[in-house]
Subunit: 171 residues, 2 copies
Amino acid sequence: MPRFEHLRHKPPARPVQSRQLVVACAAMRSHVNLSHIVRSCGCFGIGRVIACGHAKIDERIARDGADSVVLEVHRTLPPVLDRLKADGYEIVGLEQATGSESLFTFGFAPRTVIVVGNERTGLEQPELDRLDRVAEIPMAGMPHSLNAATTAAIAIYEYCRQFPDGSPAVT
Amino acid sequence: MPRFEHLRHKPPARPVQSRQLVVACAAMRSHVNLSHIVRSCGCFGIGRVIACGHAKIDERIARDGADSVVLEVHRTLPPVLDRLKADGYEIVGLEQATGSESLFTFGFAPRTVIVVGNERTGLEQPELDRLDRVAEIPMAGMPHSLNAATTAAIAIYEYCRQFPDGSPAVT
């Protein structure tokens, strides 16, 4: 019998507690990237994605993520970030910025908003001004900049790695 | 002065020692996915990517990763994996499989090959038979399956997180 065999329809290990992570995206250039982010959120059990501008989901990319994730579309991010901060979320931008911390050693708060910038312009100053912290994935080579959906997936993974059984209850 | 400001051309933190990580891809359906993998490898300082079949890189996606990463194209993976194993690499598949370990708690060997399967069929038995270990990203929701390039990027990130200063010398 082979040591490893492919399991095509492995039941997911759903976390006991729901994840208190929200992913908030600035207006993206690419529906492909936003759709990939929605797919990744679905896979990791993240239920809430905020998008801005003319947000459209390609279901061929997002797959069932398009059904399991609630997508809220807003005009701009700053007012939404203000409300989430008032609700007790830590607002964490993904960006190469002054004052950023390496994601390798970044300890997430259970109640977190991950903020993803536009592919070209990144996070802009009104968004940066709302952040509590900035996480940065250390780059070691060219092109020195990951794809936006890849960056988001890595940060979501890192959050879930720190809370493998779901987000602890906030008291 | 704002607390966080975007740094557009931040110099990369190149690891002191080169990374002893190889990324080996089965024949992929999509040049887009392979190109994204090459881009992520470039960003994380991974110098060697193995691809199979009719491998083509879209430089608009891979960006400068297409120049900084050496892409070796082979007909099939198993003979290459045999040679890498003889060279002392631990061969780690990314798959939902029997005997897989969660990537959340997976300790990588410094000298590692990450093996990425085809988007539809995953890793096939001749490839699975060459693996020392299988790492699996725990899924918590629909569609229960991440995009292949996203999976690869997360595993590369996790390896780099464990060896932030580059791979230690193998003695």
